[in-house]
Amino acid sequence: MADQMQLCNISANNFEQCTKCSICTTVCPVAAVTTDYPGPKQAGPDGERYRLKDPAFYDKALKLCLNCKRCEVACPSGVHIADIIQRARMSAGEGKRASLRDTLLANTDLLGTAANLVAPVANATLGLKPTKLVMHSVMSIHKHRTFPAYSRTKFETWYKRHAAKQQDAYSRHVSYFHGCYVNYNFPKLGQDLVKLMNAAGYGVHLLDKEQCCGVALIANGLYKQARRQARVNAANIRQAVSARHHTVLTTSSSCTFNLRDEYPAILDIDTSDVRDNIMLATRFIYNLVDEEKIKLIFKQDYKRRIAYHTACHMQRMGWQIYSIELLRMIPGLDLVELDQECCGISGTYGFKKENYERSQAIGSTLFKLIEDAHVEAVATDCETCKWQIEMSTGLPVENPVSILADALDVEATRRANMISD
């Protein structure tokens, strides 16, 4: 009997595994706040049945999907609901031109390079009321949004000037995919990683070449460019992994998820040979501590109460446990793990005028949880969650790597790991 039966799933994204249980609809943050979006079951597997018959059944409302992947995390049957939706959006949008606004928002590195050159001017100008009003009306970028401040010096520049030379002195080595946010907006996070890894006895190296991972390009429909950049990144990661035997570390959950999972799932770029060598720094560090290969010694006088927010893509990767457990190792840190709720920004989604209100409505549950937690700061592994939570709650938001680096007793840690100066 078995030889006449189809025993395995043969469709893309586990589409055939959907049992119509509707559990995905209970966790969708978009369907919770608007009736314009049909919900993940209808937009995903149900709609796909129609679209397979005739692409004309494509529903424009699919553009409202945040691609937060919460439906996939909730699905008891392993259906890649959000990938089905992304693929449908892609087929419908391929060949169409993205708007100027979307192109600009999506090109985080292009915008970053330009802004770095004139950082003080750019920061001041982007923060001005008239600029915001022009952006609001002409560009459709919501006036309440503040662009993250641009740094005067790129991380790469800082690294070459101040860090590169020292790295070869270490006996063990990793590569670092810093991403646009660290490079253009917040080099301190990259510096914190270097500080942390150096104290643990690891030299940190940049890839030969790094381009924006393309997460924003995919979200804004610029698939061709995303594929081009993905190929460059895949080649350079491959070089670091195979020629130098480096693990490639990251500090952004969305970049990480994109490099590991969206490249093959959405862009058809196979990275399976290096996927296991791309990981968030917290996972790498946790494992070293767990296997007693390194020791981290923290300052005695460090005392803070911090809430941890699991970013949606972090939850999709299932790696929040590493960041949380590392933070719990800091003796003076009182950590509150928040229930997993979407902050509503979803990269560039919340920057767009038409999405602003929906974005804030989605985030309101999380903002309330943060308020009730009575903390002095929030920790999260995603930079766009950071912008959203800072804007909406007024609390500072920090990456776990920065918190670890701040709390670290560098000298004691270096001694414990037997690193000589």
């Binding site: 509707s22 369907a31 009736t35 995390v73 909730a74 008891p76 296991d276 299932g318």
Partner: protein, 412 residues
């Protein structure tokens, strides 16, 4: 990564066991491959509802009559009575307030209007102590216009047959009408998100108050997000208000899952949602580690492991064309080798497969190739020897075996 206990499965039994252990200071990791069947729960727990098709009045009195391989028989009546009290208390600690006791079943009302024996029912939900002596006569069934998940006609007929005098009323409010723009989402979850603010609840109260007439009790589909919303609405209604279960996914189950998960997290537990156990390393009579899909080459190590992975629907058990097996560790299962005996004609007839599950010893330890694994317990629906449909013992088995295993682990 090492914790004291690793639990495979994050539904009712996994969470209950995790909470019981974390409360006593254990570090616990739960691996949950997506949301669980608790989301299908309409707001009641059953302990033991039927024996041979007959409704059970006092579950504790008849446990001794159950087949010898039933999980309750392994635990024993006395301990079950004690664990049942603990279970009610644990739910309350998590914020889940229930009515009922293991000494005497009450009746719950299904979305189709059938009365079924139950052990615990959420305080906000309709619960009938004695079906022969109804608590009131006249019931106003408040139906939400356009709502997907309540077969109003069947429900009203069912209540009528129980002896209630039912008036079916239909209402809507501005918020609810807006929802109808997306007919596929006119469901309990969507309604619950719109019925949060006092003003939106007030509009519901105004509508149903106007329709209440001379009813003794108003019944509303269970579409409220939390107890707070229920209390607010109840304080505004002119007649006593109770919620009645809807078709799944149901708000009662979603609320319970959230509350248990939140409580577990507050106790310091790690809840890995959306990850799944793929394999385990077993050395002699002990499980050493469990590998998950997402943690990959960094397996979960622990002193104790608990299998709470559910039945077929949750993939705790898998059936292919040849055999029925437990997919993570290939543990011994109680299941007929002959495929023809798995099912019988008529989906509503007793089905053999619903009693299949992993084999355990008297302390709920799992067995592999005939040998007992000393640090692996199985709890909940993955266990063999019970029948959630025909015996109405599913949630009871989940809660009570979870607590029994936790006791066992803590006593080590």
């Amino acid at each position: 990564m090492r914790t004291d206990t690793v639990i495979i499965g994050g539904g009712l039994s996994g969470l209950t066991c995790g909470i019981a252990l974390a409360k006593r200071g254990q570090r616990v990791t739960i691996v949950a491959s997506g949301q669980s069947t608790l989301l299908f729960n309409g707001g009641s727990m059953d302990l033991l509802g039927y024996i041979d098709g007959q409704a059970v009045k006092a579950p504790l009195d008849v446990i001794a009559q159950l087949p010898i391989d039933h999980p309750y028989r392994k635990i024993g009546t006395e301990r079950i009575a004690d664990l049942a009290d603990q279970a009610k208390q644990l739910l309350e600690d998590a914020g889940i307030m229930t009515e009922g006791s293991a000494n005497a079943n009450h009746w719950r009302v299904t979305p189709m209007g059938v009365a079924k024996p139950a052990w615990l029912t959420l305080k906000s939900h309709v619960c009938i102590d004695d079906i022969e002596q109804l608590p009131c006569k006249r019931v106003a069934l408040m139906c939400v216009r356009g709502f997907f998940d309540q077969p109003n006609g069947m429900l009203a007929n069912g209540l009528q047959q129980m002896g209630f005098n039912v008036e079916k009323k239909e209402f809507t409010t501005d918020e609810i009408t807006t929802l109808r723009r997306s007919p596929s989402e006119m469901r309990a979850v969507s309604l619950s998100k719109r019925l949060v603010s006092n003003s939106s609840l007030k509009r519901v109260a105004d509508q149903i108050n106007a329709l209440a007439a001379d009813a003794d009790m108003m019944l509303l589909p269970s579409v409220l997000g939390d107890e707070e919303a229920f209390d607010t609405l109840q304080s505004m209604t002119v007649k006593p208000l109770r919620l009645v279960a809807t078709l799944p996914p149901s708000m009662a189950g979603i609320r319970m899952q959230k509350q248990l998960q939140h409580y577990f997290r507050m106790l310091g537990g790690n809840y890995l949602m959306g990850d799944s156990a793929v394999s385990a390393v077993i050395d002699g009579d002990r499980v050493v580690s469990v590998t998950t899909a997402k943690l990959g080459d960094m397996p979960l190590r622990a002193n104790n492991f608990v299998l709470a992975s559910g039945s077929f629907i949750s993939r705790g058990l898998t059936a292919d064309y040849e055999r029925i097996y437990e997919p993570v560790m290939d543990l011994d299962v109680d299941a007929d080798a002959n495929r023809d005996n798995w099912t019988q004609f008529g989906v509503l007839n007793p089905q053999a497969y619903s009693r299949y599950g992993v084999k355990t010893d008297d302390s709920l330890h799992c067995i592999k190739q005939g040998k007992t694994i000393s640090n692996l317990h199985a709890i909940g629906s993955v266990l063999s020897g019970h029948d959630p449909i025909k015996m109405a013992d599913g949630t009871g088995v989940s809660l009570l075996t979870a607590l029994a295993a936790a006791q066992d682990i803590l006593a080590k």
